[in-house]
């Protein structure tokens, strides 16, 4: 998902026998669906796992601005341009809420960004694919925001209060994004031959990477058990992926577009779609940094940060001058008070 393969730092799920009394009390609160708040006691592994998960999610929002930003200056109508700019602005806002949520766990935004820029922190694999035509902007809204919602709606009930509340705010906006993306696809799949070809090609390129967003299969997910016990992961990767496929295939049918999976078929017995095997070697390579755009995306973020350094320094220097000026004014008033 926006947070894929989050390491809990633990080899096995903790049982009550492993836990000291305060941890047992903590787990009992989680089991009773009572939210954990920043000032509450929490196990170090829970805190660290959440930092990894929330910061990955935040970085994904910020890095995700780049593939869409690639089309802002080329949007085909003024209305579509305005919608796209507003969407990207929402994503920047999501990044900010999530950085703030992570900061409640005792890490600074600067530290999180330093981890991203040094390649220590991850972001979603999906943003390492290129946006080649305008149909990609439609497909991202439809599939990528669609997959994000699928994952994030359950997270609105997660155990950590600030994260759960950030998710509630974010989910509302993501559903707009998905509808707007689908609307682009609707126009293109009903459009000229060239537009239909772009729509088809975009779905062909984004389908499998979208399924990979949910992370490795449950069998290969070593950390999911503990995250589930902590209620920071409420549904398994495979459950979420299946829901996504079940929701999305009829939407593709309505567009008259073919999902690029020869094994895809409705299964009457299970009441779900069966679908083909995911190429996990591609997924692991993209996660490792070998996707088509990993280098460009990270470089773009590093450049923005480095080129902005003098601006941030100027703002800070000015704020300090202001503060010093105010302090001098207060001192001189106090001085006058004493001499009066």
């Amino acid at each position: 998902m926006y947070a894929q393969m989050v390491d809990t730092g633990l080899k096995e799920v903790r049982t009550a026998d492993d836990m000291p009394p305060e941890e047992r009390a903590f787990q009992a609160r989680i089991d009773a669906d009572i939210k954990i708040e920043p000032k509450d006691w929490m196990p170090e592994a829970y805190r660290r796992t959440l930092i990894r998960q929330i910061s990955q999610h935040a970085h994904s929002e910020i890095v995700g601005m780049l593939p869409e930003g690639n089309w802002v200056t080329r949007a085909p109508t003024l209305k579509r341009k305005a919608i796209l700019m507003a969407k990207i602005q929402d994503e920047a806002g999501h990044g900010l809420y999530l950085y703030s949520a992570a900061e409640t766990l005792g890490i600074s935004r600067d530290q999180m960004l330093a981890d991203l820029h040094a390649g220590r922190a991850k972001y979603s694999s999906i943003f390492n694919y290129p946006t080649l035509t305008w149909a990609d902007i439609g497909t991202i809204g439809w599939l990528v925001d669609g997959a994000a919602i699928m994952n994030q709606i359950p997270l609105c009930r997660c155990s950590y209060g600030p994260y759960a509340r950030a998710m509630v705010r974010i989910c509302k906006e993501e559903s707009f994004h998905q509808r707007q993306g689908y609307d682009i696809m609707l126009a293109m799949s009903r459009g000229t031959d060239e537009q239909q070809a772009m729509a088809k090609d975009a779905l062909a390129r984004w389908w499998w990477p979208s399924l990979m967003m949910f992370g490795p299969s449950d069998a290969a997910s070593v950390h999911s058990g503990q995250s589930a016990a902590w209620k920071i992961k409420l549904l398994s990767n495979d459950e979420l992926r299946q829901r996504f496929v079940d929701q999305t295939v009829p939407q593709a049918d309505f567009l008259g577009l073919t999902v690029p999976d020869p094994a895809l078929r409705w299964n009457d017995e299970t009441g779900h779609y069966d679908f083909g095997a995911i190429d996990w070697s591609e997924f692991h390579n993209v996660i490792k940094g070998n996707g088509p755009c990993n280098r460009d995306r990270l470089q773009a973020r590093v450049n923005a940060w480095d080129e902005g350094a003098w601006v941030r320094e100027a703002a800070m220097a000015h704020a300090e001058k202001r503060a010093a000026g105010a302090a001098r004014a207060v001192a001189s008033i106090q001085q006058q008070g004493r001499t009066a």
Partner: protein, 272 residues
Amino acid sequence: MTEFVLHASMPKIVTDLILFEYLLRLGDSPLILAQRLGEWVGKGPIVEEDLALTNVGLDLLGQARMWLAYAGEVEARCSPRGRDEDALAFHRDAGAFRNLLLVEQPNGNYADTMTRQFLFDAWHVRALQALTRSCDPRVAEIAAKGAKEASYHVERSGDWMIRLGDGTDESHAKTQSALDNLGMYTGEMFASDAIDAALADAGIGFDHAVLLAPWREHVDAVLEEATLALPAAEWMQGSGGRGGRQGVHGEHLGHLLAEMQYLQRAYPDSQW
């Protein structure tokens, strides 16, 4: 230039032709500046600034759309074609654009972008305020909405001028250099040509020259606090009625339009 005055006796079609031209002038500057701000997406010095720049860009794009939509309606009244906002934005060549030269200047660094923004905003807010008194109700209505946004924009860009000018030595030098480079594009904001004069006379537009003194006062006050100064004006670009508002542009606009218009030009018969 020969003075041309609009008379009540003049046929409506002539007034509309002039009004159409004027509406392009009003719409093209925010359109082109919004396009420039769109180039910053994902590249701001801090996420909050990315958000804020996009916000300003969205406001300007919204204003451009209102001006151009109205321009298309007026065009339909006075010519066989009435183009919609997209036909006007995507199917005109550079020579048919009526934006100020200032807004087509490249983004450069953050000081260049903020200086361009501040010099424009300080003019824009006054131009829009003047137009709220237009006797054309649509013009007055669009201007009133835009003026509220522009007064927020100028506050923000003015704050940045102060931070950058009175920040570090590096930010001061970069911002002064931006002012030195952009100062010569401010002259055409205060030059009225026959079209401006005709519409001012008809009570639809306003005399651009009267904005100069209050603009200068505002800019100087901010720059003083920022420990910066406008360069001495030797020669203003676009002088003599041959500036962006008359369709005489620099080299940058063609590239900006090539990018902005590409999809509409490549696939002209498509609905998006």
